[in-house]
């Protein structure tokens, strides 16, 4: 009997251990359907951080399919869990909004390059398994919201991934071949995946001549997820998604001339990315339903919209209105939609902020005319432009961009909500073009985080990344150890803190009080100063003064001096300076300040200094 008791006792103990260490499976609270809510008061209060998910942090090795460390055109392993794990890092830097790269399922690879970036959409209704699952993405968004951080999703409506090929030689399979005879016609390389623009539509042809429009043949290659795109079931009662049908695409081939409006609007995006027929009501509804659904599933706070200049304005009017109405009906207001048009033409950029369209766009013209010409080129006196170019550009803002908030939009006029950036994943990094001029980077960051609009920092900037063009500008961040002690990281953190502390830097109107054409040996070469005050800033006042010159000190005075609106005799304190140096405004409301090469001051009235 003793052995019986002993045995039963051991078995009972085992049962207790097993039952107490295992609870039933469930979806964690952070992974459940969120209630939609408005998380943003004023988008100008936000500091956006652009994250290329594959490159930020690898939080889970189990989704590292096809990862090739070090090969930047391939997957590196970052995921949503990794980003969630490092929200503290971003919060310490002062980031308040995450712009995450596209989340939908992609064609895995094309021409020996992977879709690590997420821009080769294959199915707008499915998540990209490289980055996690619905619960992990929800957890990221919920964790961000818990920290009062917002999440903006990158979406693409202009094109899908390399879903089909043009069967130009009618042989039933995709080819890359040499076309032409070399005598009566030039020899040309023809890729049926990505043929050149043809205003007639991509043509089929044989040695006997043209055969008419080339059939668009959808590829079925499950190994790389190159299969016909799907839709939400309810959109496809016939079982066929418009995005899985040739009807859904323009079929004109790849854009060759971006200045040709027809090519720009109807051509395929380079890389074989097929241009969607966004003028069709069916397609528009797919885009609205697909992307609004992600907001509903995730409680997102905004869209960054890719390649908007390649889609007709009527689409944006329909899309924007429908999304805003649908989300507002569910309690989500202030939903930001800002577009990316890779173009320096202010008029073109601003056209997408016309009434009824987007809340904002990337301020690409500023990227070129200010951050490139004035700051990046500081090392090259022949290339650098004077700060008067900044003033000129800013003065055209009100004319180029919408001056009234969009109906049901974010409540801020486009002209005051432009998204400012130094660089992004589509251009070489600031430090690459600046040839490693870190002071120029920090000076540019000072402007970025104190100027009117919404600042956006590209991941890795805080770690002095200096990659060249795509994909070298898409480095892996985790190799830095997420250090928070670097000077640039601390600089961004400090500037973000100032922006948080001083409402003038966020919501004040802008008045340029000093600009110059001088970039050489002149005493005021490179000086730029602007006030942030009034507007929605109440009594808050800030004066930002900077020297973009890389070679010598400069002073804020020419023949007329620098007149400011701060009260005569008042004291302005440089809150960027750890010593909090104070400067007295002259009786004639002028200031004479001397700044070291590539340095800046952020001056606020002594009575407004936040300690």
């Amino acid at each position: 009997m003793r052995v019986l008791v002993l045995g039963l006792g051991a078995i009972a103990a085992l049962a207790v251990v097993a039952t107490h260490t295992t609870a039933c499976v469930q979806i964690p609270d952070q992974g459940k359907q969120p209630a939609l809510a408005t998380h943003v008061v004023d988008w100008r209060d936000e500091v956006i951080y652009q994250v290329l998910i594959d490159r930020f942090a690898d939080g889970n090795i189990n989704n590292n399919f096809g990862v090739r460390p070090g090969a930047l055109a391939r997957h590196q392993g970052g995921d949503w869990r990794g980003l969630e794990d490092h929200l503290g890092y971003l919060q310490e830097m002062g980031v308040t909004t995450l712009w995450i790269s596209p989340i939908v399922k992609n064609v895995e690879t094309d021409a020996d390059v992977d879709s690590y970036h997420g821009y080769w959409a294959q199915d707008l209704t499915q998540l990209n398994p490289h980055f996690g699952d619905l619960a992990s993405l929800r957890s990221l968004v919920a964790s961000a919201h818990d920290r009062n951080m917002k999440v903006v999703l990158d979406i693409v409506t202009n094109h899908m991934g390399q879903a089909f090929y043009y069967d130009m030689n009618l042989n039933g399979h995709p080819d890359i071949y040499i076309g032409g005879t070399g005598t009566t016609s030039p020899l040309t390389r023809v890729s049926e995946y990505d043929p050149d623009w043809d205003a007639r539509g991509v043509q089929a042809q044989t040695s006997l001549g043209l055969d008419g429009r080339a059939p668009m043949i959808f590829i079925d290659d499950p190994a790389i997820n190159r299969v016909p795109p799907g839709c939400i079931d309810t959109l496809s009662p016939d079982g066929r998604c418009i995005l899985g049908s040739p009807r859904g695409y323009h079929g004109f081939g790849r854009i060759l001339n971006y200045d040709d409006d027809k090519q720009r609007m109807l051509g395929d995006f380079p890389g074989g990315l097929k241009d969607v027929a966004t003028e069709l009501d069916e397609v528009r509804q797919v885009m609205i339903d697909s992307y609004a659904r992600w907001v509903e599933l995730l409680d997102l706070d905004g869209f960054r919209i890719d390649t908007v200049k390649h889609v007709e304005h009527e689409f944006w009017q329909v899309f924007s209105k429908a999304v805003r109405q649908r989300l507002a009906a569910q309690g989500k207001a202030n939903f930001l939609m800002f577009g990316e048009a890779f173009d320096g033409n202010d008029e073109l950029l601003g056209s997408f902020t016309r009434p009824g369209e987007l809340d904002s766009v990337f301020y690409f013209s500023q990227h070129f005319q200010v951050f490139r010409d004035v700051f990046q080129n500081a090392h090259d006196v022949k290339a650098q432009k004077g700060t008067s170019q900044i003033k000129t550009l800013w003065e055209s803002r009100a004319k180029s961009y919408g001056s009234a908030p969009q109906e049901n939009g974010i409540g801020v006029a486009p002209t005051k909500a432009l998204v400012n950036f130094l660089d992004n994943h589509d251009v070489s990094r600031f430090l690459f073009e600046a040839q490693g001029d870190v002071p120029a980077l920090r000076n540019a960051l000072t402007l970025l985080l104190t100027e009117d609009g919404i600042p956006c920092v590209y991941y890795g900037t805080e770690q002095d990344f200096a990659g060249g063009n795509d994909p070298a500008n898409r480095e892996v961040l985790w190799t830095t150890g997420f250090a928070t002690t670097g000077d640039t990281f601390r600089h961004v953190s400090k500037l973000a803190g100032l922006r948080r502390d001083y409402v003038a830097l966020r919501r004040g109107d802008t008045k340029v009080v000093y600009a110059t054409d001088h970039v050489g040996d002149e005493s005021d070469a490179g000086v730029f100063a602007f006030e942030r005050a009034a507007g929605d800033a109440g009594a808050s006042y800030a004066l930002v003064v900077m020297n973009t010159n890389a070679r010598h000190k400069s002073t804020t005075s020419d023949a007329s001096g620098m007149k400011v609106n701060a009260a005569a005799g008042s004291s302005l304190v440089d809150v960027l300076d750890p010593a909090r140096t104070a400067y007295a405004v002259g009786s004639d409301q002028t200031l004479r300040l001397t700044l070291g090469a590539q340095s800046a001051m952020v001056l606020v009235p002594s009575g407004q200094v936040v300690h």
Binding site: V3, L4, G7, L8, A10, I11, L14, A15, V17, A18, T19, T21, T22, C24, V25, Q26, I27, P28, G31, K32, Q33, G59, N60, I61, N62, G66, V67, R68, P69, G70, A71, R74, R81, G132, D133, L134, A135, S136, S139, L297
Partner: protein, 489 residues
């Protein structure tokens, strides 16, 4: 000769290793449990293991276990297995067979030995696929010797305890390794057995060869780049309570079993096939503790077994199934498995019922809270039978199975995905060997209807008919046999 009852078979088995503590080569299977029943319960005491002989004597034996099925889905296709749990009902399981050659000797002084070689044949067979290549595996290839109370063995062996027949599953212990072991009969009702085994599966988790420039001449040679055998130690203590010590009926009995395993795998370096970069894999380990309670009536094959098991780390993975997901340090740290299982059989006159059930909770080490490798699952299956005369019978089977995965249900995204099945079958059969759940051979006509939940359909690719159909049919012929196999009871 084929024993005539489970009781007798059990007695012989116990005589060797006590209640299959060294479970003689049950039909064994890779992870999906391909094989057949081991007896369910130990039986009354037997004669001494091997009677001392006065002279050397030996013989060759041939034994076999097997099953062959052919079935239609009544839609023009082949009947398919539909289970959504790791160990579902075997009513529609695929074909499999074992052929065993065995040499048994009794030596002067009373020592006995046997040399066992078992080949396993995997489906499909030539007459189905038209392909002459047969998947063949060496399962058993071992030598066992006994003298007095001590038994030693070594070689390749299916080494396991009691099963749940309807689930084709050994819930407590099921080792398939190369190794060796010992069993010592502490008394007539008490046995302690231990074993050490090793395996190195031919997969990227444990083994990898790379090419290197040949040291002499030109060309290449293969170098073992990754060499991570898993070593498993097990120990099993079995105590029988019988011969009237617990029940009045001396044929009835009770047993309890305590069981433990330890698993280790060494660190290694694997070369990434995509990048040709070497990546480290850490040392890893795990342990398992389990127990079993068994009771039997001694009448026909009536018995009931309760199994409990809890495993952590590497031990949560069957030795023939490499982990697919890991903690971020590439170990199985954090992985757990807990299960409780029940199996039994009852026979009286012209009626019999055999059943099985289990609940299992598995959690992988993936840092994500939501993965397909975190799940709860369970099943219950009952097969009542009516014997029509001595050689005929009709069985019915009803079962329910479900797996709840820690991934969002695509439609109810705040809920975990639950896949479940109800299955109802009828199975008239011919049993030349007479009445009894475990009498073989049997020739059966089988029909099973399966009602599949939406969650069950979600487990399949959209193009698979299993993603589109909620009802499946299975109509087929099924034969099963076993005789004179040391894998069988």
């Amino acid at each position: 000769m084929m024993p005539t009852s489970v009781a007798v078979r059990g007695a012989l088995a116990f005589a060797l290793f006590s209640a299959r503590a060294l479970a003689d080569d049950a039909p064994a299977a890779p992870a999906e449990a391909l094989s057949a029943p081991a007896a369910a319960a130990p039986s009354p005491p037997a004669a001494p293991a091997v009677a001392p002989s006065v002279a050397d004597a030996g013989r060759f034996e041939f034994g076999s276990y097997g099953r062959v099925r052919i079935a239609s889905d009544l839609r023009g296709g082949v009947g398919r297995t539909v289970n959504v749990v790791a160990n579902g009902t075997r009513i529609d399981e695929d074909s499999y067979a074992e052929l065993e050659l065995r040499r048994e000797d009794t030596w002067k002084g009373g020592a006995t030995t046997k040399v066992v070689a078992t080949l396993a044949l995997f489906s499909p067979f030539f007459h189905f696929s038209g392909r002459p290549e047969q998947q063949l595996a060496v399962r058993n290839l071992f030598v066992q010797g006994s003298v007095g109370s001590l038994t030693l063995w070594g070689g390749s062996r299916m080494y396991r305890g009691d099963d749940i027949y309807l689930l084709n599953w050994w819930p407590l212990d099921n080792q398939n390794t190369l190794g060796g072991g010992a069993a010592y009969a502490i008394g007539p009702d008490t046995t302690l057995a231990a074993h050490v085994g090793m395996q190195r599966l031919d997969n990227a988790y444990q083994s990898q060869q790379v090419l290197a420039v040949a040291p002499f001449g030109s060309g290449t040679v293969a170098v073992q780049q990754l060499d991570r055998p898993r070593t498993i130690e097990s120990v099993k203590f079995t105590q029988l309570v019988r011969n009237g010590r617990l029940f009045q009926d001396p044929k009835a009995g009770f047993k309890w079993v305590l069981y433990a395993e330890a698993h280790q795998i060494s660190a290694g370096v694997a070369r990434d096939a995509l990048t040709a970069q070497d990546r480290g894999l850490p040392q890893d380990y795990g342990f398992l503790a389990g127990a079993q309670l068994g009771i039997w009536s001694g009448e026909r094959d009536t018995h009931l077994n309760l199994f409990l098991r809890h495993a952590r780390g590497l031990a949560a993975y069957d030795p023939l199934a490499a982990p697919q997901t890991f903690a971020n340090d590439k170990s199985t740290m954090g992985t757990t498995e807990s299960l409780i299982a029940l199996g039994g059989n009852y026979e009286k006159e012209a009626f019999g019922i055999v059943g099985g059930a289990y609940l299992r909770a598995f959690r992988d080490g993936d840092p994500s809270a939501t993965t397909t490798q975190k799940f709860d699952e369970g099943t219950v299956v009952l097969r009542p039978q009516v014997y029509l005369g001595q050689h005929w019978g009709v069985g019915g089977e009803a079962s329910f199975q479900a797996r709840r995965l820690a991934v969002p249900d695509p439609e109810q995204t705040s809920q975990p995905l639950t896949a479940s099945l109800w299955r109802f079958g009828v199975m008239p059969y011919f049993s030349p060997a007479g009445r009894g759940t475990f009498k073989r051979p049997q020739l059966r006509l089988v029909y099973v209807a399966t009602l599949r939940s939406r969650g069950a359909q979600e487990l399949y690719a959209a193009q698979d008919v299993f993603a589109q159909r909620s009802v499946e049919h299975f109509l087929g012929l099924n034969v099963e046999w076993w005789f004179n196999s040391s894998s069988q009871p």
